[in-house]
């Protein structure tokens, strides 16, 4: 499992290649978050951020047949079209890989301490958390509840 919180950019294809070398892998699912329109600065909580991502990834591994996974999240100054985050999951089959990848991303949005500050022409402002992100994470909790006997 690779968890990295870094200032530098990352290369998706080399990260996926590393994961595909793991024995038994039959499926790789990945998600890349990209800066949409406005330049931004990402702040994080060194130590806690890495630990919280690790916990989320561990939780995914306990729920699905995850062989290995990689999460890279950047901080610092980012411009439009820059990559922000990579979540990649290696599994034997696609269903598990897709689900675990989406789960990690949804939880990361609400549990990992990162904060975005957007720099528009009219000034800088902190991005407000969206309740739709809470809902996305909550649905996994409900799903787990529903599958329990």
């Amino acid at each position: 499992m690779k968890i990295s919180v870094q200032r530098d950019d990352f290369d998706v294809s080399s990260e996926l290649k590393l994961l595909s070398k793991t024995p038994r892998v039959g499926a790789l699912a990945s998600f890349v978050g990209v800066v949409r329109e406005v330049a931004m600065t990402l702040e994080h909580y060194p130590g806690m951020t890495e630990n919280s991502i690790r916990k989320i990834a561990e939780e995914a591994r306990s729920r699905w047949q995850v062989i290995d996974c990689t999460v890279i999240h950047r901080y610092g100054d980012l411009r439009p079209n820059d990559q922000i985050v990579l979540v990649a999951v290696a599994s034997a089959h696609r269903g598990e890989a897709f689900a675990a990848c989406e789960f990690i991303m949804d939880y990361l949005k609400t549990r990992a301490p990162f904060w975005k500050k957007e720099h528009a022409a009219e000034g800088s402002r902190w991005v407000e958390a969206k309740s739709s992100d809470d809902d996305a994470a909550e649905r996994w909790r409900l799903r787990q509840g529903a599958t329990k006997p």
């Binding site: 978050g33 909580y45 806690m48 922000i84 949005k109 609400t110 990992a112 301490p113 904060w115 958390a129």
Partner: protein, 85 residues
């Protein structure tokens, strides 16, 4: 007891403070109690840490509810809801 308090993002900016060692008065034993204690400083503190504001807390780098206990030497953090990804 003494605790270290850290602030992040908009909370840090609005308070103009990043890190502080605080001597917590006797009788305060939870994160919520500490937040109320800081709020009682008035001014910006009352505003930024107001009960109506969504401020998340962490103790020793774990997100917690306001009722979570604090003990000497803990690292307590206050920050706005997270917006990564």
């Amino acid at each position: 007891m003494k605790v270290t308090v850290r602030f992040f993002a908009s909370v840090k900016e609005q308070l103009g403070r990043e890190l502080e060692e605080i001597e917590v008065p006797a009788g305060i034993s939870t994160v919520g109690g500490l937040r109320a204690h800081l709020r009682a400083r008035g001014g910006r503190w009352a505003e930024v840490l107001a009960e109506t504001r969504r401020v998340t807390a962490a103790v020793n780098q774990d997100m917690v509810k306001p009722g979570a206990a604090i003990k000497p030497g803990d690292e307590v953090a206050f920050f706005p809801p997270v917006t990564g990804g």
